[in-house]
């Protein structure tokens, strides 16, 4: 059955697949994860804030983002961001953002909604007495968050954050809708050029599988390493 498959095509296109495609996928995953966690943490803090309106804004944001299909958001932002940029800086015509910047903003904003729910659970997992202890020592709200609450919340939630990152890693393949050369996009291009669809997609699936599985194994290791002794 496999006799007429030519796996040599993979070998020949490896540099392109990894240095073009995978480089993009990993860069987007890393930047969107970092940005998403930072933004998500801020949204979680708004959600739990006692300042009026802030919780309402946070809930609204994460509900909207989590109710829309990611592909739709990718399209929407790609066409919308140039106009938002134009409006923001008062330019005379829509600004050129570029596909990479557009998807980076999209993934960061989209993932922030999910990361915010994770960080909210993390912050709420810390006993209220810890906040009181920080306050009693004279720490301000931001100092308490920075040195006492968030480090603990982050460690408690690390496994879930990494699981979400694995999901994000896989979701980055959706950038194909903008004809961007991520790992899957690169494989598609080679596949169609050489007419080797089965070989390339099998190989791509194997690579995604190995990396995702590796990350989830790493998650288990990290969980044990970073656990807080209680």
């Amino acid at each position: 059955m496999f006799s007429n498959l030519d796996f040599d095509v993979i070998w020949r296109s490896l540099p392109y697949l990894f240095f073009e495609g995978m480089r993009f996928t990993l860069l987007l995953t890393a930047l969107a994860t970092a940005g998403g966690i930072v933004l998500g943490t801020l949204i979680a803090m708004m959600r739990l804030s006692s300042v009026p309106i802030l919780p309402w804004l946070a809930v609204g944001y994460s509900n909207i983002m989590r109710s829309l299909p990611l592909v739709l958001v990718i399209f929407l932002f790609y066409f919308l961001i140039p106009y938002v940029g134009q409006w923001a800086i008062g330019a005379s015509r829509p600004i050129a953002v570029g596909a990479f910047n557009s998807v980076l903003v999209t993934f960061t904003l989209f993932e922030a909604a999910y990361f915010s729910e994770i960080m909210r659970a993390g912050i709420q997992s810390i006993p209220r007495g810890q906040v009181a202890a920080g306050s009693a020592l004279g720490l301000t709200y931001w100092q308490s968050m920075h040195y006492v609450i968030l480090p603990q919340a982050f460690r408690n939630m690390l496994p879930v954050l990494l699981t979400q990152t694995i999901v994000l890693f896989q979701d980055t393949s959706l950038v194909y809708v903008l004809s961007i050369t991520d790992f899957l996009g690169a494989a598609s291009k080679v596949a169609q050029r050489d007419g080797r669809l089965v070989e390339l997609y099998l190989f791509t699936a194997a690579v995604y599988f190995v990396i995702s599985l590796g990350l989830s194994q790493l998650t288990k290791r990290l969980e044990a390493l970073t656990a807080i002794i209680r």
């Binding site: 006993p127 007495g129 810890q130 202890a133 009693a136 020592l137 004279g138 720490l139 807080i228 002794i229």
Partner: protein
């Protein structure tokens, strides 16, 4: 009476319809040790938490060393930094080593350098007999040891007052004494202390005054001798007879 370092002026507090503090007033002089006792739900913990504004109150005022808590110009974090607080559940920061627990606020709030903070931290750990545990995490210590670290952490800020909210209630019986020993030594050194506790032996030993609360009111505010000798209120008599029964 000497000049009050804590002046609680008829404070009241309610959670919705439940009145937890009803116009409570008392003064604590510098160097005085005041025990706050009473049945559970009497508002004694709330009263002590109001003193460093951890609990907001709706009316009245508290003046600490001349600084009013209700004055909008008061910098609450800086004021709290000068008031040590020890909690029933220790509330050490579990992700930080013992020494870092003592250094964090010294560095971030008081602006001390790391080495100044460490010197101070080691000195206080030595004072509570735990210097050899400086590099451990709180979870590796017993309850009594954790509470002694918590006292050292509060002392590291050079507080002018120490507040204790049932510091021995969460401890196994055999660990109560090691914590009380530290507190007795502190009282003997002249620290101003407000202590919510049911440890009447401790009260006998170090208290200058005893405040008895019931249903959000200060029912009795008397010297130790008066309180244990002839409590005036029926409620306090009843409470004492129950608590001293065994």
């Amino acid at each position: 009476m000497k000049e009050a370092i804590i002046d609680i002026k008829s404070i009241s507090k309610a959670y919705g319809a439940t009145q937890v503090l009803k116009s409570c007033s008392t003064r604590v002089a510098k160097g005085e040790v005041v025990i706050v006792c009473g049945p559970s739900g009497s508002g004694k913990s709330t009263l002590v938490k109001c003193v460093n504004a951890l609990e907001p109150f709706q009316s009245g005022d508290i003046v600490l060393d001349g600084v009013s808590l209700t004055d909008p110009k008061t910098n609450l974090p800086m004021l709290r930094a000068r008031v040590g607080m020890v909690f029933q559940s220790f509330e050490l920061f579990p992700h930080l080593r013992v020494l870092d627990n003592l250094c964090l606020a010294q560095e971030k709030v008081l602006g001390r350098t790391r080495s100044e903070a460490e010197v101070k931290g080691f000195k206080l750990l030595d004072r509570v007999g735990l210097a050899e545990h400086a590099q451990k995490h709180p979870g590796q210590l017993s309850g009594g040891q954790q509470q002694r670290v918590a006292i050292a952490r509060a002392l590291a800020m050079d507080p002018i007052i120490m507040l204790f909210d049932e510091p021995t209630s969460a401890l196994d019986p055999e660990m109560v004494n090691e914590v009380l020993d530290v507190m007795v030594a502190l009282a003997k050194d002249g620290m101003t202390m407000m202590v919510v506790t049911h440890e009447m032996g401790f009260a006998h030993k170090v208290a200058d005054r005893v405040i008895f609360m019931d249903k959000g009111e200060i029912v009795e505010d008397a010297t130790k001798e008066e309180f244990f000798g002839t409590p005036r209120s029926a409620r306090a008599q009843q409470f004492l007879s129950k608590i001293l029964q065994y």
